[in-house]
Every structure is written in structure tokens, then in C-alpha cells.
Homo-oligomer: 334 residues x 4
């Protein structure tokens, strides 16, 4: 039985509690938050869990095996470090930390102490993303050519991180999960309409050694919500629309093929447009998959799907993207 302490009961915390509460082989002992009203809510909903504003009741508690961190990004590193140093397995809300160096340090500590360090990239546990991964791995899409994601809506402006740090971790983690190749560089542009230098619109291109390219368009200032990703292979292409209640994935039996031609000024392209296939998607809650993977990874000493390497890669790309934006879109090597 893994004894758990959850730190942070703001936007995402309640979802974590709700899911870990029904996960096998674990028990939530403490939830820590600094907001008194939230503590009262916890007491009412979960009288058997101790609600506290004293973070050390969790971090220094020898009975606690695992700590789940759902606090603002800039606090992740310190809390996670203390937890690991006190021999606790750690699950951190995405993104892992606010810079590459701190993420690397956490990984080092976890490795040394043989502790599970996992990042909550929830989308890696959705049926949609796993169906796409299945089709890619089965070779149905052929060689991947591009990944183009749009994640825009009228969103909550964050005071500490820009729109890429807020929204793009979803797309980047999915991209890293689906395509094994690691990118070589990024370019990013963006704008802040608040005058505080924190971009509310940003465009990110991720470059690869191979013929593959990725692009992510993020905005907090769109009048309509879009969650759409195009993934093109040289055999088939996929559109993943996460806002569709059930028809989230469309597989297009569409492709084009270049033919050799002696005339250098001509391109001969064979287009093929075929059927479209909408596989059934199960709407089970992805966060329950996160919870199960975390507990099982601890119990079986296995590497979780959303592991710290993916978490680090996401931070690497975000950090480089931010550097690119601040360097007027210059290419930043990874």
C-alpha cells in the first residue's frame, strides 16, 4: 500500500485526488494547500484524508511513500527535490520544472536513490493518442512527414509562464510519444498583449535531422476553442480533434508520391485520396491511467510511460522556444 501526500489543491489537484482515491494499492493520507477554504472543501469531501497547510507533514513524514506535486511551475523543483531527498517517489504536474538544469538535477537524484520520478503528461494516457501511436507503430501511416497542432482558446492568462509553457506541453509530449526521433532545434515567435513580456500568442516550429517538421500554434486569445492536430505520413494522414465528443480521430487514406522525371522543372506527383476511417475511441478518464501507471511503476520498479526523460525533453523544447522568442525567432539548437 503506497501512502500518498498530494501538494496543491487548486485547478488540477481535485482531479488528482478523485482519481488516486479509486486507484488500487495506494491511499491518500494528506493533502496540503495554503488556502483555508480549499482545506475545508477537502474536509467535507474526504473526511478520511488529513487536510493541512504544513507541507512538511508530507515531505518529512517517514510514512509517506509518494508525493504528488500540483503547485505552480516555479515551485516544482524545490518541492520535488525535497521529496526525493526524503526518499519519496514523485509525480509532478506538467511541465516538470521551469528550466532544463533543475529537471536534470531531479532526474539525477531520483536515479541515485532508485525512486520513481514521473511527470503528469495526461494525454499520453488517452485512448486517442494511443490509437494514433498504434497506427504509427503498425506502419499504417508510413514514414512521418509532419505534425501540426493548434491549441487555442480564450484562456486564463498566467502570471508567471507564457502560453507555450501553459498549453504546448500537451502537444510536445504527444509529439515525443508518437515520434521517436529527437528534434535538433526550434524556432519560435510570439507576442504579449499584456505589456508584461509574457506571450499570450506563440508559434513554435520544431526542426529535425530527418524530413520531419513539427509546428504548434498556441493562443489564450482566440474566440473559439481549437484542439486539433494533423499528423502526416507518406502513406496515410491523421486528424486528431480532441473537442469531438466521440469522433476524435480521422484516418485519411490519402497520400502523394513523387515520381522521377527527367525534366528538372517539373514535379510529377501521384495523389491518392481514399476512404476515411474513424476508429472508436473509449472515453475512459486518462488521469486514472496516470495514477495506475505511477503506482505500478513504484511497485514493480518499472519506467512509467510519462517518464522523467519525456518530462525533461518537454522542458528542453520549451526553454529553447522561449530563448528563440526572445531572440526574435532565431533557431535555437537543442
Amino acid at each position: 500500500m503506497i501512502r500518498i501526500g498530494i501538494i496543491g489543491y487548486g485547478y488540477w489537484g481535485p482531479n488528482l485526488v478523485r482519481n488516486f482515491a479509486v486507484t488500487k494499492n495506494c491511499k491518500i493520507d494528506f493533502i496540503c494547500d495554503f488556502n483555508i477554504t480549499r482545506l475545508q472543501v477537502i474536509n467535507k469531501l474526504y473526511p478520511e484524508i488529513e487536510a493541512t497547510n504544513d507541507i512538511n507533514k508530507i515531505l518529512l513524514n517517514p510514512n509517506i511513500d509518494a508525493v504528488i506535486i500540483a503547485t505552480p511551475v516555479f515551485t516544482h523543483y524545490n518541492i520535488a527535490k525535497t521529496a526525493l531527498q526524503n526518499n519519496k517517489h514523485v509525480l509532478i504536474e506538467k511541465p516538470m520544472t521551469s528550466d532544463v538544469a533543475s529537471s536534470i538535477e531531479l532526474i539525477k537524484i531520483a536515479k541515485t536513490k532508485n525512486l520513481t520520478l514521473m511527470i503528469d503528461h495526461t494525454f499520453l494516457y488517452t485512448d486517442s493518442v494511443n490509437k494514433i501511436k498504434h497506427f504509427i507503430n503498425a506502419g499504417e501511416l508510413g514514414d512521418l512527414n509532419y505534425f501540426d497542432s493548434t491549441r487555442i482558446n480564450l484562456g486564463l492568462f498566467q502570471p508567471d509562464v507564457n502560453v507555450l509553457w501553459d498549453l504546448a506541453p500537451h502537444d510536445i509530449s504527444i509529439l515525443l510519444y508518437l515520434n521517436n526521433e529527437f528534434p535538433i532545434s526550434v524556432n519560435a515567435t510570439g507576442i504579449s498583449h499584456t505589456g508584461n513580456d509574457i506571450e499570450n500568442i506563440a508559434y513554435l516550429t520544431i526542426n529535425y535531422q530527418s524530413n520531419f517538421i513539427a509546428h504548434i500554434n498556441c493562443s489564450w486569445t482566440s474566440p473559439t476553442k481549437v484542439r486539433s492536430t494533423l499528423i502526416g505520413g507518406n502513406k496515410k494522414m491523421v486528424i486528431y480533434n480532441d473537442l469531438e465528443p466521440s469522433e476524435k480521430i480521422r484516418i485519411y487514406d490519402t497520400s502523394y508520391q513523387f515520381k522521377n522525371t527527367e525534366d528538372k522543372n517539373k514535379i510529377l506527383v501521384d495523389y491518392r485520396i481514399g476512404d476515411i476511417h474513424l476508429p472508436k475511441i473509449t472515453n475512459s478518464e486518462a488521469l486514472l491511467g496516470v495514477a495506475n501507471d505511477f503506482i505500478e511503476s513504484i511497485n514493480h520498479n518499472k519506467v512509467p510511460i510519462s517518464n522523467s526523460e519525456i518530462g525533461l525533453s518537454v522542458v528542453k523544447i520549451l526553454e529553447a522556444a522561449q530563448k528563440s522568442i526572445k531572440s526574435k525567432g532565431k533557431e535555437i539548437k537543442l
Copy 2:
């Protein structure tokens, strides 16, 4: 009565002929093309027009007042120059020419000779774009914050120009038409999947002195066709979906406002989400508007809507974009 010669009867030429044939105060005397089959088609459809493969029958003909050029981009400059030098008014298919220098030269000749030089940026004559312009000019959107356009489909790979030169002229001309501010620089990234260094996917950011930003996403390799533009003001926002048969424009009474706050770590944002308004769009053929504007501009010595300055600006942005792609996304000043 303006006597017209049309050069090029490929993809767009027939549309030009069809529309100029019903435009007042003009008459098509010649159509020139090098393809014999096309000349036969012209003879059958328009027995009263002379179909020829001799371009000089138009360019050197003293009875011809105006020349319309619908040939491949790289030929625009030479044909237009000869036409202007022979005192003909000129309408050129978009984009104007394949580089800034040649566009500037054409403008200079036209100015000296007081000839109309117009570029066929057809979208400036659609009811959709003009409705949006009307709302912007009336102050309904407030100050403009962003323009974000997606123009992707399974498109014909061009052998001589990349996807930006092929598709982005539409978005750039609309952008220049709607927003009077001239941009200061661009960043662009892209990829060629054909191995010929001609990008079939490209992402373009256009930067401004003010708080405004524009982004254009173009691809010939999408399984689905998208023609969608978001335009955000600080009062209202617009989504323009050109694929909708009648509901092309949605005006969102949606905005956000930043409030002053003493705490630097906080952003106070007031969100307002209101009604959506879909103005009726008239589906009249835009190219007929182009034809009328060309003939009237000649007859009344007025500046056409889609004038050579807009044409030049489009080429400036495209040329800079191409330079940026080839410089790994570096900012290129305009």
C-alpha cells in the same frame, strides 16, 4: 472601349476571359497561349476572339489598350515590362513578380507613363473580406491584435515556387487590405518533402512595430482543406472560414481586458463572451469585381483597390519569408 489581350490560358486564364467577356466598356481581342489544344478550345468557345500563340500580336499591337497576364510567375516581369513599354495598361495575376526589384521597376515604368498597373488579388473583391473591412473600419473590432490564417490542402506541387508563393499571397493581400500598418519584419520556417528545396509546408510570422502580429500556415500536404482566418481585436473577434457555403464570417462579441493591479505577479483579466453574429454574405463572383475595377481605373485614371503598391508589398513579404526560411528562420527586416 478598352481593347484587351489576355496572355496565358491555363488554370486561371479561362476565368479571366469569362469575366472580362461580360464586363462593360471593354472587349477581348486576343488570347495568347502556346498550347494548341487550348487555342482550339478558345476558338470553339469564343469564335469572335482571336486565339494566337504569337505574344507580339498583343504586346506590339497599337490597337490593344490593356494586357492581362496569367502566365507562370517567373515570366510576369518580362511580359509586363514589354506591355508597359508599349503603353498598355497591365493586370498581372498574383503574385506580381518573383522578386522585389522587378516589381519596383514595373511600378516606376507605369508611373512614368501614367498607366494602370494592377495585380489580381481576387480576395480583395469578395463580399466576405469587404464585410470584415467594413466592421474594422467602423471600429467594431477595436484595435487589432492578431491575424492568424491557415490555408492548407492536398495541393498541386508547383515546380518553380514554394507553397508560400503559391498560397500565401491571398492571406498577405487580405492582411494588408484590412490592416493599414506596414509590417517591419518576418520569420519563416518550412520544409520540402520533394528533395528539390521547394517548401511544400511553411509557417510565416509577420511582425509589426505595434502590438499586432500575423501568422500564416500553408501546406500542400494536408488531407483536408482548410481556409480559415482568425482576426482578433480588443473589442470583438472574427473568424473567416472561406469554405463555408454561406456562413463565411462569424463575429464574436468576445473580448478580454487587462486591469491594473499592484501585485506584479498577478494579471487581472476581465473576460467577456457574448453573442455571435453571422452577417449575410453575397456570393457574387469576385473576379468580376476585379475586371470592373481594372477597366474603371483605366477609364477614370483612378488607383485600383488591388493596386501595384499592395502587389509590391506582397512580394516584399514573400521575398523576405523565403530569405528567412533559407536562413533557418532568422528575422528578416522588410
Copy 3:
């Protein structure tokens, strides 16, 4: 403080409990259900409410002021009658009872005893339906011409009532709420694919003295879910799509007008197609409105919006529809 007993904790009961639990001026004392597992759930979720399988603890309890009935339709009459006879206000899940006679009897008892008798036609408390009612009452639609509703999905086959009794109460109650005219007759057709004579597909036409007509298409056997209603006036028309997350109502500034013509063989029609307006819809929970209306109607001795007369009218139409189906579609007077 109105003391409440809720009878039935199956599909809808939990929603009633959740909403009445946060409604002012009332308190749920008892929930009755025959299923032990459900009683245990109640004990866990609501330790302060007594969960019981003894219905008389509610019906015969002198401390209970109001009874809410969420049991199968065929039990409504008996439970409601006993409740009213024991001087309790009553809220019944739709449809009111399974035949007209019993509904009339309940109304009579409630009237005699001056008790509130209300039916839970939840849709009358949605912002969507009330926005439409507002536009109709303001004369924006002009004279109403038709109401055409489709309510189909892959639904749970009911063992005791056909698809009309299951799904059409929503449409009929909305229709009666929006249009004050009472219909004169119905025609209905349908089919049972189960061999038990209980229709899983049915089509209902509702006829009026005036120029108005209503039609409702219900099915449990559609591969896709549709919740769509067209309402046509002679000035404007409305499409109400309840599946849209936020854009539930579209008001079309579209109409046609007939002109007098001497030639009897000709119809002169003026068509007008104008803008479309999507008013903002608030997604507040309608059932909370039901709860508030019930409690306030008791406390202020007022007639609730979803009153027993509407409930009776719905049953009248359903009973006539069933008679029509069994009489091969014959018109049945109301």
C-alpha cells in the same frame, strides 16, 4: 424550511438530490429506494439524509412537507395520490402519469387541498428554451408556422413505455411552453423492432386549428444522437440544437411572403435571407431552476412554470399519440 422526501434514486434521482441539496429554504430528510446498493451510496454521499426502503416513512410522515417522485412512470399516480392525500406538495418526474384520467384526478386533489403539484419538465428551465420564448414573445419570429423536432439516438429500450413516452415529453413540453395555442388532434405512426409492441421509432404530427403544425421524430435506434428543433415564424426562424456546447440557438433572419396574384396558377413568393444571430446561452443547470421554482411555488402559493396543466397536456398528447399508432395513424382528437 420545506422538509423533503425523495422517492426513487435510479437514473434521475441523484440529480434531483444534488440540486435540492443546494436549494434555499428546503432540506432533504429522506431518500427512498428499494435497491440496497443505492441506499449505501446515499449513506456515503449524504450521511445527513436518511436512506430508507420504506416509502411510508416519507408518505405518512407528518414532518414531511413535499415529496419528489422519480420512479417508473406507471407508479407515479399511486405514489403522488397518497402523497397529496397526506397533504404533501408533489413534484413528479416527467411524464406526469401514464394516462389522462389519473393526471386529472391528481390535479383535482391538489386543487382541493391547495397543494403545489408540479411536473419536472426540465427543459422549461434552460436558458436556451427561455431565450427562444423571449424572442417569440417579443414578436421577433412573427406568427408561428411550424415546430419540427428530431430527438434520436442509440437509446435505452424501455420495457414499459414506447419511445414517445420516453423522449417526446421534452419536445411536447417545450412546444406547449412556446406556443400558447392548444392543439386539436394528433396523428402518429411507429414501429417496434422488439416484437413486444413497444415502439422504438415513432413519428408524431400535432395538428392545430390555426395554420400551425408540429412534428416530432423519436428513435432509440439511430447511430448518431440528434437533438434538433426548427421553429418557423413568418418573420424569422430558429434552429435549436441542444447538442451544441454553447451555440445552441441560431436565429435566422429569413422569411418568405406570399403576394396576391391574379393568375391562380402562380404563386408569387418573396424570399428574404439575412443575417444569422447566435445569442449567448448560459449553461447553468436547469434542474436547479426546477428546484427553486418548486420551493418558491410552495412558499408563495404561486403556480410553477412547469405546472400540472402542462403536465396533463403532455399526457393528453402522448395518450392520443399512442391511440393513433395503434389505430394505424388515424387522427385522434384531443
Copy 4:
């Protein structure tokens, strides 16, 4: 070489001419219309065809082999009869005639004289309808349970026929083509908002001996255009949306199965919701298929797909539907 005379050059006539002009083994000699402007249009577009207002130049011309009738419905019978009596093959615009008796008479004459008599039910030649027929015939849908069609828009009010005669022939011919069983009766309701007793909204139920039911909802007074048909089998279901530019057909791998149960009050249903498949639809012009079938049927003395028996069945159902509407929805046997 079949020599053709086309009678009627109103709404549909030009489409017939355009398609027969490019059909092999036939030649249009005459087009007849009473409108002088239309005759001038014909002269301009087709100088090689004789445009006439003298119908007898076609009907009594011994050189004419086949007559195509695209005039108002009430004139079909007389023209077709004269044509057949003068030994001409006949293609009639849908619906065949305005009553059953006259349709039967035409069939009898055609049979006696061994002439091809064909009705232009164009939808039977679309790739969409044939794809559905293919899936049905291959047993993919299993046993058919229902057909539910909605064909509504802001339509041209016809002065002589109601909305069912105008729009429903499409749905009825598709229904008869897809399902071999002949219906036993119909019920129909409707309303006329013009005061001329010609219904502009109508609802038609078509009843079968078996467990199958069909329903068609037609209106000239909808603010939006809908062309949607649901076809349910006990294995799979189809939605056919003719307004989709390319994704016209969706095949749902969805079904339900009833299980035997001892408890008469219970229904045990197994629901299965699976993938959705969108077969590629070719957008070739269906009317060209009509033209080819007509000419080949004449030349090879074969029965065309859209033959006179289907034409007659459509008229039978329409006539019965009209009788039902005028008898207040009473069932009318076929």
C-alpha cells in the same frame, strides 16, 4: 445513332442538353420550348441544334427516335403518350405523371410497342446511392429496419404540386432502389401556409409488411438546407448526407441485439458501438449516367435502372400520400 428531341428547356432542360450532348451514340436534333428567350439561348449555345416552339416537329418527326420530356408534371402524360404512339422511346423527368392511371397506361403502350420508357430519377445514378446499395447487397447492414429522410430548405413554392410531389420523388426512388420489398400503405400529414391547399410542409410514413418502416420529412420553409437520410440495419447503420462535398456517406458499425429474457417486463439489449467508415465518393455527374443508361437501354433493348416500374411505384406512393393528407392522415393502402 439515336436522334433525340428534348421538350422543355426550363430548370432541368439545360442539364439534360449538356449531358446528352456528350453522350455517345446519340445526337440532339431539336429542343422545344415556348419561351422565345430560351430559344435564343439555345441558338447561341448550340447552333447545331434546332430550337423550336413547335412540339410536333419532334413528336411527329419520323427521324426522331427518342423524346426527353422536361415539362411541368401535369403535361407529362399527354406528351409521353403522343411520343410513344409515334414510336419514340421516352425519358420523362420525375415524377412520371401526376396520377397512377396515366402512368400505367404509358407503361402499357411502351410494352406493346417494345419501346424504352424511362424516368429520370437522377439519384439512382449517384456514386453515393450505389455505394449504399452495394453495402446493403453485400449484407453489411444486415436486415434493414428503417429509412428516415429529411429533405428541407427554403424552396421554390410550386403552384401545381405540393412539397411531396416536388421533393419526395428523390427519397422514394432511392428507397425503392435500396429495399426490394414493396410497401403496403402510407400515412401522411402536412400543412399549406399559402391558403391554396398545396402543402409546403409534409410528413410521410411508408409502412411495410415486414419489420421495416420509412419516413420522409419535406419542407419548402426551412431556414437551412438539409439532405440527410438514415438507413438502419440490424448489423450496421448508414447516414447519407448529400450536402457534404465529399464525405457523403458514414457507415456506423453500430447495432443492438435483443436477448431472450424470462422476465416479460424486461428487455435485454446488447449495444455495440464501433468504428465509423467514410468510403470515398466519386463526384461524377449522375445525369450523365442517366443519359448513358437511356441510350444503351434503347440500343440493347434492356431495362434501364430507373425504369418505368420504379417511376410508377413513386407515383403510387405520392398519390396515396396525397390522399392520406386530404383524409387527415388516414392509412391509405397501396
